[in-house]
């Protein structure tokens, strides 16, 4: 409690101040959590209640029917008839998201960690500066500049041109591969992250060089040093990097929208966007058989909220796993 002195806490003015601060903070927490709460309760509401106006805070008859219906309607196995809301069952899209996010994470973290270690410990200082600028330089440049060239490069990897050149003196085209419309189109550009290198280097700089040198003199190999000295000590930075790289890979929207055309490979965030209208039909208040079926189906905004909830779950799980490390705070410099 640095700002408010410990002495004089019983004075009324100070207590008022503390009370004011506490209430502001709790209101902030409530406001922040309110959309999450709303998402959860809406996904529990049956269809009739969604279109009540003004909407209610807690469903009068909560049920998990919406989740069940989402799974059934998307797989086309709903018993009530032949409605197919999405092209493929939901688990296909969840699997896509997991593959993309997991692939990016598994490639990004080892590469950038090794790079951070090399920059702080292995390079001579002159090379270290040059290579560091090489790695970090793209942070300042907005992603949109490389958007279209990346797309063109992925089309006939690694040539950004429409026609592939021929190997000189022969008739054979240069080897090339079209990565578009596959998982690699999303994973490959995500293989490297300049921000991670920044974090790793900053953290490893805080590990004293004498420690590493002593280990080297004792005859340890570089990999051994990493395994035995660096990793046990850098749990915070690994936690932060893992969480943020997973979270940004999971929340990707624009890039998969551009490079993937086939709905079978789309991640969940793009599907949520594409099928907003498939899932939010107007209130079924009529008497026709179609409307009665939709009413029985009970899918509307609650379906959309259910999908949103499903999409948020993995990020939440990662958060729970890493919350200790995140909460203790990562310092960019300084290591005790």
């Amino acid at each position: 409690m640095p700002l408010i002195a410990k002495v004089g806490r019983r004075r009324f003015k100070v207590r008022l101040l503390i009370g004011a601060i506490t209430s502001i903070l709790w209101i902030g927490v409530a406001l922040h959590l309110f959309p999450v709460w709303w998402m959860f309760t809406t996904s529990l509401k049956p269809a009739r209640e969604i279109f009540e106006f003004p909407p209610s805070l807690w469903p009068k008859s909560p049920s998990f029917i919406c989740y069940k219906l989402i799974f059934e309607l998307s797989a086309g196995t709903w018993a009530g008839g032949n409605i197919r809301v999405l092209d493929y069952p939901i688990y296909v899209y969840i699997k896509n998201s997991i593959i993309m996010a997991g692939g990016i994470m598994c490639l990004q973290i080892p590469f950038t960690a090794l790079m951070g270690y090399a920059l702080s410990k292995l390079y001579s200082s002159r090379w270290s500066r040059i290579v560091f600028l090489f790695c970090i330089g793209t942070l300042m440049i907005p992603g949109e500049v490389s958007l279209i060239p990346s797309y063109l490069i992925l089309r006939h990897f690694p040539f950004p041109t429409k026609h592939i050149p021929v190997i000189p003196f022969t008739n054979i085209l240069f080897p090339h591969y079209n990565f578009l419309d596959s998982y690699w189109a999303v994973i490959l550009p995500g293989m490297y992250s300049a921000f991670n290198v920044l974090l790793f280097k900053g953290f490893f700089d805080g590990i004293p060089t004498e420690l590493v040198n002593a280990a080297r003199l004792d005859g340890a190999s570089e990999l051994g040093i990493i395994r035995r000295i660096i990793i046990p000590v850098s749990k915070p930075v690994f936690a932060v990097v893992t969480y943020f790289s997973f979270s940004s890979a999971w929340n990707q929207f624009m890039w998969p929208l551009i490079v993937i055309r086939n709905n079978k490979l789309m991640p969940l965030s793009v599907i949520l966007y594409k099928f907003q209208f498939a899932l939010t039909q107007a209130p079924p208040t009529g008497k026709t058989p179609e409307e009665q079926r939709l009413m029985a189906a009970g899918v509307g905004y609650n379906g959309l909220m259910a999908l949103s909830f499903i999409e948020s779950i993995p990020v939440f799980i990662m958060f729970l796993i890493f919350r200790e490390q995140l909460m203790t705070g990562i310092k960019l410099r300084g290591f005790k």
């Binding site: 008839g81 092209d87 089309r155 429409k162 592939i164 008739n171 054979i172 085209l173 080897p175 090339h176 591969y177 079209n178 578009l180 055309r261 086939n262 709905n263 079978k264 594409k274 907003q276 209208f277 039909q281 107007a282 209130p283 079924p284 208040t285 009529g286 008497k287 026709t288 058989p289 179609e290 409307e291 079926r293 939709l294």
Partner: protein
């Protein structure tokens, strides 16, 4: 010792890297090439040796073939009782037997999606044949834009001595010429889909009954000759804020080709020979300029009143994207009328006689209302198909042959045969929309035997047939500026963005100043899209507007003789 180990490690790493690279080269070299690369690879001798010409097809037997076609999938579909796909396979195989050099490959994708076609064209993986207006990202009326952009192949040589050319010229002459012919060269063919003229409104019969609106025959429907003001009244009567009901649901643009806007304008007197808010330029620097005549402003004010005074229109920025949310509003019970935006014939098929689906008993179809002096716009969905311009002669001929097979040859006959069997054996609820439409308006000659096997009036309600055939065909079509070479079709289609801005402004803002919005849109339209000058535009404009005059004189004499019309033409259109 350690350095030796390290040396061995690095050498083995390098070796494996090199081997891997070599392996990947080999792998890449063995990869199956696209037809484009394949064609480019072969020398002339090899082309003779490899007799297989691959036609990439995306369409009949089904538009949305999303999975890789395999024999297992085929068996599965047969097992599910879907003979439609089986018949498609049979037809394709017959064609391949009749043409030993050709193999037809069904590609996965949606040929009605512009992105799919355009990226395919750019990458050499496009289907052989696609709708022209979709590839040019414009509406059906401006399919010619694809021609101007060079996105479709020149098929004049193939069409010259084709056996169906005289028939097409006789039945679809003006439309075919307007959309597919340029300087005596032909670039497209009528689509393998029913050409259904007539766009209109869908309405809910039960709401009409409740509101007590009946036509002369006693049906809960608007009269065939209803006017725009009657439309406004009906929308007001159907609106009920307590029950959360609106009379009309509108999508203010983003769906390409939504012709409600020009239909409304035409009803108020703006000639629809070109885009509603485009008129010849007075300054003479460019050919056209963006601006609104008083009649156009009147039409927009009509929309604004409906939206904000009567409050009978359900619309907003949420309705500007994705597929047809406004029509779902009608099904869902919030809107009483909806502009179909699709061919009416398609909806005929949607509302088939499966009692479990939405049925024509509760959704009716009405034609476009009439405006001043009985003006009514004719919108014909002539949906031409073009061929991939990167194809070489052999592939083009093979694709053309397959198209003929599917449209007018044995393939079409098989398709009709399949339809008849489906209806007779399994009942009419299994027929899709296009199939019923086929019996009414197929673009090519089909043997009378097939047409006579299914009596359409047995299955389709009276008003659907009346609206699509009688009323739509009876409406005369006005001359269009494309026929006189007056429009740069490449830029013309992009004006829809600007129009959309104006519509959105009207729909989202109750205090909208229509003149100011049109001025803002004119700023964009003039600088970005209308900045061209056609050669000899004065003579062409004179000829064109003479034709427009003749059209009005012959078909709408009341309007032609009114002073309003004369003033409008003198002031805004005859400005040479």
């Amino acid at each position: 010792m350690k350095s030796k180990l390290l040396k061995m490690l690095t050498i083995s790493l390098a070796l494996s890297l090199i081997l891997g690279l070599m392996g990947s080269f080999a792998f890449a070299a063995k990869k199956e090439l696209t037809p484009y690369e394949f064609r480019h690879q072969l020398t002339d001798e090899e082309k003779v040796k490899y007799k297989t010409i691959i036609v990439r097809w995306c369409g009949y037997p089904h538009d949305n073939w999303t999975v890789k076609e395999t024999i297992e999938k085929f068996q599965q579909t047969l097992h599910n009782g879907d003979p439609w796909i089986g018949m498609g396979w049979y037809s394709k195989t017959l064609f391949e037997l009749a043409h030993p050099k050709v193999k037809v490959e069904q590609v996965a994708g949606n040929v009605w999606n512009s992105q799919f076609i355009l990226t395919g064209l750019a990458g050499g993986t496009a289907p052989a044949c696609y709708p022209m207006h979709k590839v040019a990202k414009t509406n059906v009326g401006n399919a010619r834009m694809a021609l101007e952009k060079g996105l479709v192949a020149d098929i004049t040589d193939l069409v010259k001595d084709w056996k169906y050319t005289p028939w097409l010229k006789e039945h679809w002459g003006p439309e075919w010429e307007r959309t597919c012919w340029k300087d005596g060269r032909c670039y497209g063919l009528p689509g393998t889909y029913p050409i259904v003229p007539g766009w209109g409104f869908e309405y809910r019969r039960d709401w009409f009954k409740e509101a007590g609106l009946f036509n002369k025959k006693g049906e809960p429907a608007p009269i065939d000759d209803w006017t725009w003001s009657e439309f406004k009244e009906i929308a007001k009567k159907l609106t009920d804020p307590k029950k959360k009901r609106w009379g009309f649901s509108l999508a203010p643009g983003a769906i390409d080709g939504i012709p409600l806007y020009p239909a409304l304008m035409f009803g108020f007197g703006v000639p629809q020979a070109l885009r509603p808010l485009v008129m010849p330029s007075k300054e003479g620097k460019y050919t056209w300029e963006y601006g609104a005549t008083p009649q156009a402003i009147e039409a927009l004010k009509f929309l604004k009143d409906m939206m904000w005074k009567d409050k009978s229109v359900l619309s907003g920025v949420e309705y500007t994207s994705l597929a047809m949310p406004h029509s779902k509003e009608m099904l869902g019970g919030r809107a009483g009328m909806v502009w179909t935006g699709n061919q009416v014939g398609n909806n005929v098929g949607n509302f088939t006689f499966d009692p479990k689906k939405s049925n024509p008993k509760f959704i009716g179809v009405a034609p476009i209302p009439r405006g001043k002096g009985n003006l009514r716009l004719r919108i014909v969905d002539f949906c031409p198909f073009g061929f991939d311009p990167t194809l070489d002669k052999e592939h083009l001929k093979a694709s053309f042959d397959y198209y003929e097979w599917v449209a007018a040859g044995k393939g079409a006959e098989l398709r009709f045969m399949d339809n008849i069997d489906e209806v007779k054996i399994m009942g009419p609820q299994y027929m899709g929309g296009w199939d019923i439409g086929c019996y009414m308006y197929w673009a090519y000659p089909i043997p009378e035997y097939y047409r006579s096997q299914i009596k359409v009036s047995d299955y389709v309600p009276d008003d659907y047939i009346r609206v699509t055939t009688t009323i739509a065909y009876e409406t005369p079509g006005e001359p269009k500026s494309q026929q006189y070479g007056l429009i740069n079709c490449e830029k013309e289609g992009l004006l829809v963005d600007v129009d959309r801005g104006v519509l959105q402004a009207i729909v989202c803002n109750p205090d909208v100043d229509i003149q100011a919005e049109v001025k803002k849109a004119a700023d964009k339209g003039n600088k970005m899209y209308l900045n061209y000058k056609i050669k000899n535009d004065k003579e062409k404009l004179q000829k064109f507007y003479a034709a427009v005059d003749d059209f009005y004189k012959e078909y709408y004499p009341d309007w032609y003789n009114s002073t309003e019309y004369k003033e409008m033409m003198e002031k805004y259109y005859k400005v040479w």
